[in-house]
């Protein structure tokens, strides 16, 4: 990367990594809840009904991890450096390369160059990008050719559904190669807890994904704090058919078991001390 073009790369480095994060989390959302979208097609497991992508789970996952993993910037930078190979060999997104930026394509600038530039400039790296880099590192360990596929910015999203399981198996089981990446880059507390951190991240990524897909987030208006239409997850689960707002109650009361409405202390213990 010629120094004279760094200013140009800086303009699109963050949007390029945001796209990497989005496409990776879309790969996670469809791993949890497949649909008819291109990310589900990329994993060779689709579904006729809407899935995680239509529910806007990727957007919620990115927001959640950016906020929930409130680690210091220096730690997130260290982890991003550790997982940097998760962006290796990936080109800059075509959608960002028009006009003046085409020169970056000409000289072969990559997502890795973008990340390197941000790290060199001490820029804050959102936790969602760190998580996405981790998933992509694991993905390239499962199948190195996943850097090439229908999803340009995410090897993880190019894995088959079963291969995604292999990637998460590596994360959840704290594969020594992933631990070594953290050990080589991170400051002491992160290094000491590398395996625990990987197990924690693996579990929390996998558990928040279905929560996000079945939540109201995709149609929730934060100003009025109401859903503007039926959430995808409500339709999928036939939850409260026809409603867009939580109900105040249901005619579900059918009585008391054996008609008993109250019980007392057992005779064995009546009378206290």
């Amino acid at each position: 990367m010629p120094d004279s073009l760094e200013w140009l790369l800086e303009q699109i480095a963050r949007p390029a990594l945001d796209l990497l994060a989005y496409e990776t989390f879309a790969g996670l959302a469809t791993f949890a809840v497949p649909g008819p979208d291109r990310f589900s097609r990329a994993q060779a497991l689709t579904s006729a009904s809407a899935g995680g992508v239509e529910a806007k789970a990727p957007e919620l996952l990115m927001h959640t991890f950016d906020t929930y993993l409130a680690l210091p910037d220096s730690y997130l930078q260290a982890l991003a450096a550790a997982f940097r190979t998760g962006a290796a060999d990936l080109g800059l997104p075509d959608s960002l390369l028009g006009g003046l930026f085409s020169v970056l394509e000409t000289i072969g600038a990559t997502l890795d160059d973008a990340l390197e530039l941000l790290l060199a400039n001490d820029a804050s790296i959102p936790a969602a990008i760190v998580c996405a880099l981790l998933m992509n590192v694991a993905a390239t360990q499962v199948r190195p050719t996943a850097v090439i596929g229908p999803v340009a910015s995410s090897p993880f999203a190019n894995l088959t559904w079963a291969e995604k399981g292999q990637a998460f198996q590596r994360i959840e089981q704290a594969d020594p190669t992933l631990v070594a990446l953290i050990d080589a880059n991170a400051p002491q507390p992160l290094r000491e807890g590398a395996s625990g951190l990987l197990r924690f991240l693996g579990n929390v990524l996998l558990v928040v994904a279905p929560f996000a897909a079945y939540s109201e987030f995709g149609v929730f208006d934060r100003a009025s704090r109401r859903a503007t239409r039926r959430p995808v997850g409500w339709e999928l689960s036939r939850y409260m058919p026809g409603r867009t707002t939580p109900a105040d109650g249901w005619p579900e009361f059918i009585g008391y078991y054996q008609g008993r409405t109250a019980v007392q202390t057992a005779p064995e213990y009546a009378g206290g001390m």
Binding site: T67, P72, Y75, R199, L206, F211, P246, Y257
Partner: protein
């Protein structure tokens, strides 16, 4: 100088505050999170808006969820600690299940199965001694026998099918099932009989309306006074009583509540070679200002994770190194039964049916809306079903290996939320020193060093491991007997929803932090009144009621030792928290 400062307005702290305010003491109650006073407006009950750990209104973090991040805690394993800031603490989202503990975990137990419990860590008091305190709290909240909906009827059908007897008392005497004893006002009027919101307003509707949102905060019935909401979280029961004590207790004095006040230090001094608690320092989470107040007695009720953290950050003595150790969590697990009939899984109180197995633990039926069912289906120590099992993936009466339900199988499972019956497994787990809270090496936050919560999930005692498998076997048998077409076991990772014993009371000074009065062994005037004070995991029953009964007893002990008072439980009649004098006085607070 105050008489008493209580740190934390969760399940236990407000009990001490209310009881001592009723005795006329000057009580200051501090809460790290916000005080939601207009809950009908504040709590939307949408799952992500509420339960998202990053910015839901039920999160562990400061009031401003749009601009301030949550308080990060280090979890060095696959786990999730569901902490909750705000007046009411975790009772804001609890299911209000209020069973008494297993008698076998107390010092006076001599039943034939006495050896079946965590015998090394029994309570340093008798079960019989606690019963009057149970009865006092049960009358105050109040605790009532839960009504049935469809999901409960199906669960009971399964229990009958495996030959379990029904328990028709408040106490757990033998393997048995029963409706929950819940801190929920049961349905009256139109409640539970309609879905028409216009017909569900107070006073036409009273008690539980079967809305299905216990975990998103109970606001029903709408337009009721704050202290007459169906679910008896402390923010609508004990806190209102503490704030209005002069209105309903002869000689009572209103407690002072300060929310958004994160306590960063318990102040102490040395007197005659002893450490003595003198007060607290807290940080206003909105302004960042620091404040201090002194008191004759300090009561720590900050929870099982934050309590040890505060103790250690305050530099208080820890000579036996048991502060933060012995973290018990019921080693919980989850099963889902799929039925060919309507179950009403998403409607009604979240849990109204249970079965208890003394010496083993308990199980309870749980109903959840879809996103949380997705969460529960995805929270596992056994990988993803059909793909990998992380070296676990136990098999049994359930279908296939335990593990996360993902992809096409998850879509199929969740294709009709109201054809599921879900069961929470509550293991009678042993107190173990290596499951613990320590101070993290991560950078401190604005309140000091943060906690690191360590669980050795797979290295628990043989008794604990066996109990969890026993309960899972019984759960699957009950679901099958109820008619489940499929039964899935998730094999949860550590998810401490029920937390206990990190500042435990005990017989043995070598492995306990508190004496039998819940006073710190090495700090005079410092008491603990929350689940951290519990000696053990109670044998499996949900802990809040026992926490509150013990906190009532602790309040009596404080009053007697430091203020020359007499005990009242057993001699007086409790005032119910729905009392109209409380309602009327609340309008003036």
């Amino acid at each position: 100088m105050r008489d008493v400062i209580v740190i934390g307005a969760g399940g236990g702290g407000p009990v001490v505050a209310k009881e001592l305010a009723a005795r006329g003491l000057d009580v200051l109650l501090l809460e790290a999170g916000p005080h939601h006073e207009n809950i009908e407006q504040d709590w939307s009950r949408y799952e992500n808006d509420c339960n998202n750990p990053a910015d839901g209104y039920f999160r562990w973090g400061p009031r401003d969820r749009a601009r301030q991040p949550p308080w990060f805690r280090e979890l060095p394993q696959n786990s999730f600690v569901w902490q909750l800031a705000g007046v009411g603490g975790t009772t804001q989202h609890y299911f209000a299940n209020s069973p008494r503990a297993m008698p076998g975990v107390f010092s006076d137990y001599d039943g034939p199965d006495a050896a079946a419990y965590d015998v090394a860590h029994r309570f340093p008091l008798g079960y019989r001694e606690l019963i009057p305190y149970y009865e006092w709290v049960e009358a105050t909240l109040p605790v009532q026998t839960a009504a049935m909906g469809t999901k409960e009827a199906i669960f009971f059908r399964g229990c009958e099918g495996v030959g379990l007897p029904v328990n028709a008392t408040k106490d757990i005497l033998t393997d048995s099932f029963r409706p929950q004893e819940n801190a929920i006002l049961q349905p009256h009027g139109t409640a539970g009989r309609t879905s028409d919101s216009s017909q569900l307003l107070f006073p036409q509707a009273q008690g539980c309306t079967f809305c299905g949102y216990c975990f998103q905060g109970c606001i029903e019935p709408r337009r009721s006074p704050r202290n007459q909401k169906a679910k008896r979280s402390t923010n609508v029961s004990y806190v209102p009583m503490a704030l209005t004590a002069d209105a309903w207790a002869p000689g009572g004095r209103r407690a002072t509540l300060i929310a958004d006040a994160f306590v960063t230090r318990i102040l102490s001094e040395q007197v005659g070679g002893r450490t003595v608690a003198r007060g607290v320092r807290w940080r206003d989470t909105r302004s960042g200002e620091t404040h201090e107040e002194t008191a004759q007695v300090v009561v720590l009720s900050a929870g099982c994770t934050e309590g040890p953290r505060l103790w250690l950050n305050s530099g208080l003595p820890n000579p036996n190194d048991w502060v933060g150790r012995g973290y018990t969590d019921h080693f919980i697990d989850w099963q889902i039964g799929v039925f060919d009939e309507y179950t009403g899984n998403s409607k009604g109180a979240s849990s109204s049916a249970r079965a208890d197995f003394p010496g083993r633990g308990a199980i309870e039926q749980v109903g959840l809306p879809p996103a949380l069912t997705g969460f529960a289906s995805g929270f596992s120590d056994s990988g993803v079903r059909g793909l990998y099992d992380n070296g676990r993936g136990p098999v049994g009466r359930w279908d296939g290996k335990a593990g996360r339900v993902y992809g096409a199988e998850l879509k199929e499972l969740l294709s009709d939320i109201d054809r599921l019956v879900q069961v929470l497994v509550l293991t009678d787990d042993d107190v173990e020193p290596d499951n613990r809270v320590v101070r993290s090496l991560f950078p401190p936050d604005e309140h000091g060093p943060i906690p690191r919560v360590v669980f050795r999930q797979r290295q628990r005692t043989a008794r604990t491991l066996a109990n969890r498998e026993f309960l899972n076997d019984r759960t699957a048998a009950i679901l099958r007997a109820a008619g489940a077409r499929r039964v899935l076991r998730i094999d949860f990772s550590p998810l401490p929803l029920h937390v206990h014993s990190t500042l435990r009371m005990g017989h043995d000074p070598a492995d306990s932090v508190l004496d039998a009065n819940a006073e710190a062994r090495w700090v005079d005037g410092l008491y603990v009144a929350d689940n951290a004070a519990l000696a053990n995991a109670l044998g499996g029953p949900n802990p809040t009621l026992t926490n509150q009964a013990l906190a009532t007893r602790t309040a009596e002990r404080i009053f007697a030792r430091w203020f020359g008072g007499e005990p009242w439980v057993g001699d007086e009649s409790p005032v119910v928290s729905t009392d109209p004098r409380v309602s009327a006085a609340l309008t003036l607070v």
